[in-house]
Structures are given as C-alpha cells and as structure tokens.
Subunit: 368 residues, 2 copies
C-alpha cells in the first residue's frame, strides 16, 4: 500500500503548512494528500475561513466528515479510505503524534530533506511577493535614514532626536511602525550601535551614538502573503574612524563581487569563499579572541521565502549547485568588539532562465 | 540507565525551551538535563548571549565541548558522558531527530502530557510579568477607545477619523503601535466590526461602521519576558440595537458569574457550563445554521503564560481541578451572523493560596 503525505501544524508555526494549504491559522489542523487528492480537515471555528482561502486544488473537509474531533480516529479513517499504509511527514513532525500513529499500525516516515523541495524554486509570482515585502523593508530603512539625519549630536556623542536621546528602541519603533502601516509583521528588527553591532544577533538597546556604525537588519513578513523581505544597511551619523571606513569598503566590495558570481549552477560555497577572499584582501581576517569571535563568522546568505531562513544556504558547507528560482540574501559582514559591526545585505533572484536579478532597490552609503 | 531530558528547538518556536533556557533565540539549540545538571549547547553566534542570559542553574556549553557542530555526535557524547539510555522529550519534538537518535541506539520518549507541568503553576513573579503585558493590552485598548470617541459618523454610518474612513487596519495599527512603544510584540490583534465579529478568529478588515459592535481582542507578548497578556472588549460607536444590548448584558453577566466561581479545586467544565447557563437564561442558545455556527461555540477560557494558549483550559472537556498558580482568561462570547459578535475577556490569577485575583484593570461599557 502506498504512503500519503501528512502535515499536522498551524499555518503560523509551519511554512510547509502555509505553502500546502494556502492559508494560515493560529491553531493546528490536518493537511494530507492521497494520490492526487489534497485536503485539509478543519474545526468548526476555522471551516469557513478555510473554504474562503484554501489553495486551488485543496479540498476542505470538516472534522465530522472523518469521524472527528478525535485526531487519531480521523487519521485512521483517512488512511483506511484511501488505502494508505501511512504517511510521509516533514522532519519537524511532532514525535507524540508519530508514535501514536505508529502504535495504531500506520507507517510514519520523516523526510530527511525538505518536505516540499519545490519551495526552493520560486515562480515569478512568488519573487514578486518577496519583492513587495522587501520594498517595505526599504521603506522602513528610509524612515531610519530620515530619523538619523534629523538627529543632533550632543557633546558626549549621544544622538538627540526631537530633543531626546535616540535609542535603538525608538529607531526600531520608527522602522517597524512604518512597515506595519503597510500590513507587515516585524518582530526582530535589529538596530545595533557600536559594540552591540559586533554581535550579529544582538537586537540593540539603549542610546545610539555618533561616529559609530549602526547596523540595521530589517526583515518584515507580509501578513497577507506570508513572504519575507530581508535588508541590512549600516550607517554612521557623524564621522567614522578609518578602520570603519575601510571595513565598509571591504564589505561592500565583498557583497558586489559575490552578487556578480551568482547564477544557476554556481556552487554556494565557492561564492562564500570568494567573499572571504575579498575581505582578506582588505586585511580583515577571522578568528576567535578573548572578547569572542571577530571578522566574518557567519554564512554569506540564505534562501528567503515563506521562511526567513530556508534553502539554499550560501555557506562554506553548501555544495549543491544553485537552481533557477532561488531567492537568496547576500550579506557579508565584519565584526570587531573594538568598534562594532558592518553588514550590508541585498537580495538576489536567480530567474527561471538562470540569470541573477538583484531585487534590492536602496542606495548604499556609510555616512549620513 | 536513566533517561535525561532533551529539547531541540529555538526559543522563538518553543516556550518549553524559553522556560528551560531562560532566553530566546531565532535558531535551534540543545537544552538537556542529566540528573541535577541542566545545560544548553550553543553555536559560536549565540554563545555570548547565552552566557549573559541563561536561567540560573543552566550551564552554557559550546558546541566544541561536545564534539560539535554535528548534532548527533554531540547528543551521543552527552548521553555517554552522563550514562543516559536516552532522553525524555516534549510531545512536539521533531520526528526526524527522534528517529536519528533511535537509530543510533538511544531511547527517545515523547511525554504524553506537558513537558514542564510546573509551567501551569505561576509564581507571583510570573503573574507580575503577565500583568505587565496585560497593562499594555489595556493601554492599546484605551487608545482604541480614544480613536473611536474622536470619530464622526457619516450619513452612510461609516466612521470617519481625521477626515478619512476608519478601517480595522487603522484601528489595529493605533492599538499595536501603542503597545510596541512599550516593547511589546503584537501580531494578531483583532478589530472586527459587524458581521466579521461573528467569526471569533476573523482579524477584521475594511471600513468600520456606527451602531454595530466592534470586537477588539488584544494579546501582546513582552519581547523581554516572553509572557503574554490577553484582553477583549466590544464596543459600539453610536446606538446599538436592542439585541446587541441584551447580548452585551448576557456576556458581561456570564463573565462575572464565571469569575466568581474560580478558585483552586474548581472543575473548569463546571465553570464553562455555568457561563452557558447564564447566556441561556438571557435567551441566547447555541447551534449551527445555514450561515454557520451561532451562539457561544468556543471554550470559556485558557491558561496564559509563555504561550498565549496553554493549560489549563476552561472548557466543556476539561475536568482536572484548577491548581493554585493558574492564570486563565474568562471570555464568554455570543456570535450571530445577523448582527456580529460580543466578547468580553478578563484574566484571573488563582493565587498560591488558591484565591482568585482578577488581573484586568479596565472599565466595561458598550457604547462610546
């Protein structure tokens, strides 16, 4: 007997579910396939929404139709009706339910790779959705530029905006609220100044200062489409030090050099290594010191779609050739606890013909 | 050989992880316990953050210390070092990793119930964190009241604010941005007017109108603490119909009656049933018609903590007596496609001595 496919998740927690069902919910539900049939099984609370917004070709069932609400009963009935030995499931399928189904005599097989490999290959329509989210990231970033340009510099180098010290929190709010007005969700925007910017995942907090780089990594998700945009710019209000200027030039050169290498068939690790070589030509090396890591110690980029981080990865360890339809970030960075961080991030679409298309449309500069 | 405990998740995706580790990350990492030892294993990118913010008693390891970054190697080394037969894991543990560990000869046992049953029992300190998030929900709600009071009513009953039609989207932005300024995350705020309010999960969209109920369900999460607040109020700008006034009185009576029943030892389903009886006394019955469900067709309330929906549930099906330390919502509602919805939600803490304490501090009224 063949296997069907099964996802058990909320659309909010699982992008595979959102991709398969075509809509998102806060609560878990069942998506399954059996041969060419695709279906979702909805509680009364979500049934009407599902009918309105399910992806084309997805049949919407009520729990009653499968003997619900008991989930084991429903899944057993689905397997029996379509004569399935069990289900192939995503790697993050909940173990509790896998064991319950196995105890009930069904096969449950976790996919080793991605559940929907086709998610890596974006259609022009998907690239357009990503681009629309990226445009909102750019709008948020321009708002930050405007706020920073309005700041005055106090004698102790504190940035003052509208008479008050400008903090990471205030700058983040200005970026996020700009994007939210356009229907975006923003939960992790980074505005990290000075030494905080030397930790790539530090969101930033407290007062921002002149003459020191401010890393702004902006990645909103469209509430309507679920697709993300991703953008990073680093700026200095005031006068950057020579080392910061040199690091900026190096990172910009690394990004542009890497972008030019991208095309279908290219090996991601080769592009990553090329960016490393550019940074090293400027004299920036990577290592671990007393204060932690320094240099360039993360991957060059990652795929973006319904997940903010998805395949393909542009990293040292990834040797699968890039496919037409990939959307990736290119985001080299340099991080030194002594002066902070520089990261510059664009997005590139490898179009269906295999040619690279830069999706990002915002200027590059260090000083404002 | 004994079992250890294991979580493999990001703090963002798993509240068990956030509870156990004491901090949150966008990327997956390992938390484990072995006897009285508790540890996390961090990549270079997250190591410093973890050192700064791990919960007391949690030891921070680097991946190198366990032979990483290969995860199977690290987990095998942990099991060997502490002489563990394997691990007990949460029910949502990823099947892919469970099968890999089992294939490597380790026991992996999914907990049938909650992984940390103690999460249901909130300390005064946790109740205080929840209350602080609730205060921000109240601030957002007061902002909505203020906006609605400023509206004018056009001849076609459209609400006009600052000269433009007031939409669900604009009202939501006013609520969310008020909360965001205070460091809250808000991603699902409901502002549903008229017929949209008759679908409890409808977020609301488009123009809001006078004389018709507007359901506002506001549930922000503190970015800093991870704890949620949850609040619902329903108001009418203009003149409500008699049936809406009666439904409002019924729901308010049901909520207050249910709140008075709450205490340690009380059976949740009995409280739910009591709320149903109050609504029925007002003549509001529940059923399914041509246009979908009507009446009161969801649970009376749910626990709130690091998850917005967690144990205990106040529903028809829950017969475990309430424990001291529970934090629950009490949110009866009435929903009729003909005129919309009314939902009124407060939060109650069953304190360590077993007595109920209403956490919500915002007025109740229908008309503004």
């Amino acid at each position: 007997m063949p296997l069907g496919q099964l996802i058990l998740a909320s659309g909010e927690a699982s992008s595979d579910m959102r991709y398969a069902a075509g809509f998102s919910t806060p609560d878990e539900f069942i998506w399954f396939s059996a041969g060419s049939l695709r279906g979702v099984v909805m509680s009364a609370l979500e049934y009407d929404r599902a009918r309105c917004s399910a992806a084309s070709g997805v049949q919407v069932f009520s729990e009653e139709e499968w003997g619900g609400p008991d989930r084991l009963t429903m899944l057993g009935n689905i397997a029996a009706k379509y004569e399935l030995a069990g289900f192939s499931v995503p790697g993050d399928f909940p173990l509790r339910w896998a064991d319950r189904l196995r105890n009930a005599g069904l096969v449950v097989k976790a996919e080793e790779g991605p559940f929907f490999p086709e998610r890596e290959v974006k259609s022009e329509e998907e690239a357009e959705k990503i681009t629309r989210s990226l445009r909102q990231a750019e709008a948020g970033c321009r708002r930050a530029f405007a706020v920073l340009r309005e700041t005055e510099i106090a004698r102790d180098k504190t940035l003052l905006w509208r008479g008050e010290p400008l903090t990471s929190e205030i700058l983040r709010f200005e970026i996020d609220s700009t994007m939210m007005k356009a229907g975006m969700l923003a939960t992790g925007t980074i505005c990290a100044g000075g030494e905080q910017g030397s930790r790539p995942h530090d969101q930033g907090s407290g007062v921002l200062r002149a003459d020191s780089p401010i890393v702004m990594d902006i990645f909103p998700r469209s509430a309507a489409t679920g697709y993300w945009g991703d953008l990073t710019r680093t700026v200095v209000r005031g006068v950057p030090s020579d080392i910061v200027k040199k690091a900026y030039d190096a990172v910009l050169d690394a990004r542009e050099t890497a972008k030019k290498k991208l095309a279908a068939g290219v090996i991601p690790s080769a592009v990553h290594d090329e960016a490393v070589r550019v940074l090293e030509r400027y004299g920036f090396h990577t290592g671990r010191g007393e204060k932690g890591d320094y240099g360039f110690f993360h991957g060059l980029g990652h795929g973006v779609g319904l997940d903010i981080h998805e395949a393909p990865r542009l990293s040292r360890r990834c040797d699968d050739p890039l496919k037409p339809g990939a959307v990736v970030t290119v985001e080299p960075g340099l991080y030194y606890p002594e002066w902070g961080g520089i990261r510059l991030e664009d997005m590139v679409y490898i179009d269906p013909a295999g040619a690279p298309r830069c999706l990002t449309r915002i200027e590059d500069f260090l000083v404002l």
